[in-house]
């Protein structure tokens, strides 16, 4: 490998991408998409959801509950009575500014560690929180408790519901699914750009020019991978910033962003090495990118609601499902060590497998390149 040559290839490709308007459009598409989703989410269900929480033990469960609502604020209650007064008794018809109330015991974490299920009081305002989200909240609380210890039952929840349940809130549901979708959409950069950059050199015969210059095939590959990696990391980071994704376990979120970039690049390399024309690689990589993105729908709350549905089982065959699951869990600070290891293992395993197949295909190609 020659750093000077690799740098030359990077500079040329950056310039070429800049001058290619359709490529540039493809690069910023995920960012535009996430902006559109954010706008739609705010238009359809954009009101801030207020949560009144009494949390003397400062447990992170409060943040995990808040993550269920994409646009939420936590109001700290100073006493148990303040929460009780804001909601009233079960079945009451009262006007409340709060969607959720939560009373957490001071020894919440300690009780879990001691395998003693703590008692939580959960107040739900049916006019602001739909039935689906109510169920999700309870699942979230149980999952959080399970991540710390696993008593049976992990936690006791005393639920109080005021006001009749609201009709389905499309905006809230949309917000629950668009973060993993936006994240996975950003992976299109690597999946579609690596084949484009590689195969265009082959189609336009410029690869042959490079190979009679003091350039090795490895230099070309590394140069192109670095260009796309830069774009991939930038796009994913911008998308997550727009969607408010850098919260919760931030180092873990960053790790998943890097792993996602690796998966995206190795998938792109696979298509770039298996196909001989930009058109054929573009068709297949476009379809695969779609499948990759769709798997994000089944992650998180929707996945939890689907239980053991066959559709969810099919989604679990797709590696990006684990990426989306890992990121969503990291953002919500609720992934267990086991689930993170599974997610990381699947993403890494697939990336390594794709790289190995690509290396084999590229080796074959370089052998026949001269007679193409």
């Amino acid at each position: 490998m020659h750093p000077r040559i690799i740098w030359a290839i990077i500079r040329k490709d950056l310039l070429d991408i800049w001058l290619n308007k359709s490529t540039l459009g493809g690069l910023i598409f995920p960012i535009i998409l996430s902006l559109v989703w954010l706008l739609i989410g705010n238009l359809v269900g954009g009101n801030k959801t207020s949560l009144l929480i009494y949390n003397p033990g400062n447990t992170s469960l409060a943040q995990a509950v808040a993550q269920v609502f994409p646009n939420s604020e936590i109001i700290q209650a100073s006493s148990i009575g303040e929460v009780q007064a804001a909601f009233g008794p079960n079945g009451a018809k009262v006007k409340s500014a709060y969607a959720v109330g939560l009373i957490l015991p001071e020894d919440f974490e300690d009780s879990l560690q001691a395998v003693k299920p703590p008692l939580i009081s959960l107040y739900l305002n049916g006019s602001m929180v739909n039935a689906q989200t109510q169920a999700l909240l309870q699942i979230d609380i149980i999952n959080y408790a399970r991540a710390i210890a696993d008593p049976q039952p992990p936690v006791r929840i005393n639920t109080t519901l005021i006001n009749p349940p609201a009709t389905e809130n499309a905006g809230a549901i949309l917000k629950l699914v668009y973060l993993p979708l936006a994240l996975l959409a950003s992976l299109m950069v690597g999946i579609t750009f690596i084949p484009l950059l590689l195969l265009e050199e082959k189609e336009k015969k410029t690869l042959r020019m490079l190979l009679v210059a003091p350039v090795s095939f490895t230099d070309i590959l590394v140069g192109k991978l670095l260009v796309v990696l830069t774009f991939q990391l930038t796009t994913t980071s911008v998308v997550l910033l727009i969607m408010g994704g850098f919260t919760g376990a931030v180092p873990l979120v960053v790790l998943y962003v890097v792993l996602g970039a690796g998966l995206s690049l190795s998938s792109g390399l696979l298509f770039g090495s298996l196909f001989n024309s930009v058109q054929s690689a573009g068709t297949v990589s476009g379809f695969i990118a779609f499948v990759y993105i769709i798997s994000g729908i089944f992650v998180g709350h929707l996945g939890e609601l689907m239980g053991k549905s066959p559709v969810l089982q099919v989604a679990k065959i797709i590696p990006t499902y684990y990426l989306a699951e890992g990121v969503v869990n990291a953002i919500q600070n609720r992934g267990s060590l086991g689930s993170n290891l599974l997610d990381i293992g699947v993403i890494l395993g697939c990336s390594v497998l794709f790289l190995a197949i690509s290396a084999w295909a590229l080796r074959r190609q370089s052998a026949v390149l001269a007679i193409v």
Binding site: K12, D16, K205, M209, V212, A370
Partner: protein, 291 residues
Amino acid sequence: MESAEAMVMATDLRRSFKDKEAVAGVSFTVQRGEIFGLLGPNGAGKTTTIRLLTGQIDPSGGQAIVAGCDVVKDRARLKQLIGVVFEEQNLYERLSATHNLRFSCWLYDLPETRIDEVMDLVKLEKRTKEPVRTFSNGMKQRLMIARALLHRPPVLFLDEPTCGLDPIAAREVRSAITQLSLEGITILLTTHLLEEADQLCDHVAFIVNGRLVANDTPQNLKLSRGSRSLEVTIADPKRAGQFMQLVLSMEKPEDRRYLADLMAQGMVQAVHSQEATLEEVFVEVAGFRPA
């Protein structure tokens, strides 16, 4: 031309693709500053020979030394000493001419001041900032030559340099090639256009089915195959204002005397030698007409 120094030496060079022997024991030498034409019909093995000599593919047998480098063992150094202009136009079309050349400067670690020099050489200095996709075929071909010359290679390979060009563009490219030869660059070109080779090359070799069937200067090839006679056009003594053609052998003393008489009488209007054309030589040695 400088003193004789072999810049390209192919010795029993061979290359097979599966069962087909594309190059079957080719041997020739190109001296420094020469324009050497490898001529033959499509599929004869010209491009494969260039790929072997430029290190793009390994030979199945034989040896080739280019600019002092073994094309197999010393490939890294070889790449610094050769320039290649491919048959197909392979430029970055969205980039400008300057950006295409700047990229090559980065690859070869050259100062960018060299770009203006080669642009002047191929007469493209007025279109440097425009995207290559707006260029005519002739301009693209000249830009490819400029790119191949950027690192001042002593040996330049041109694969069908005028293929697909209109007559004016082809003339521009031929003129650029002649200029390079005058500057001492050794040029090996392939073409199936025998007239072009006749105009450009100091030395030509015919390749047919992967084998060299002739290798000499165009002049020697034409003289060795043609007849030593002259076609003389004279004023018709019986019809005023009309002309007639005579063919006189340069071997026969009486024909030589008759020509001298005609010249003395001022009747000779034009004289053409009856040497063979390269195409006729090719037909004779190859047994068929090139495509």
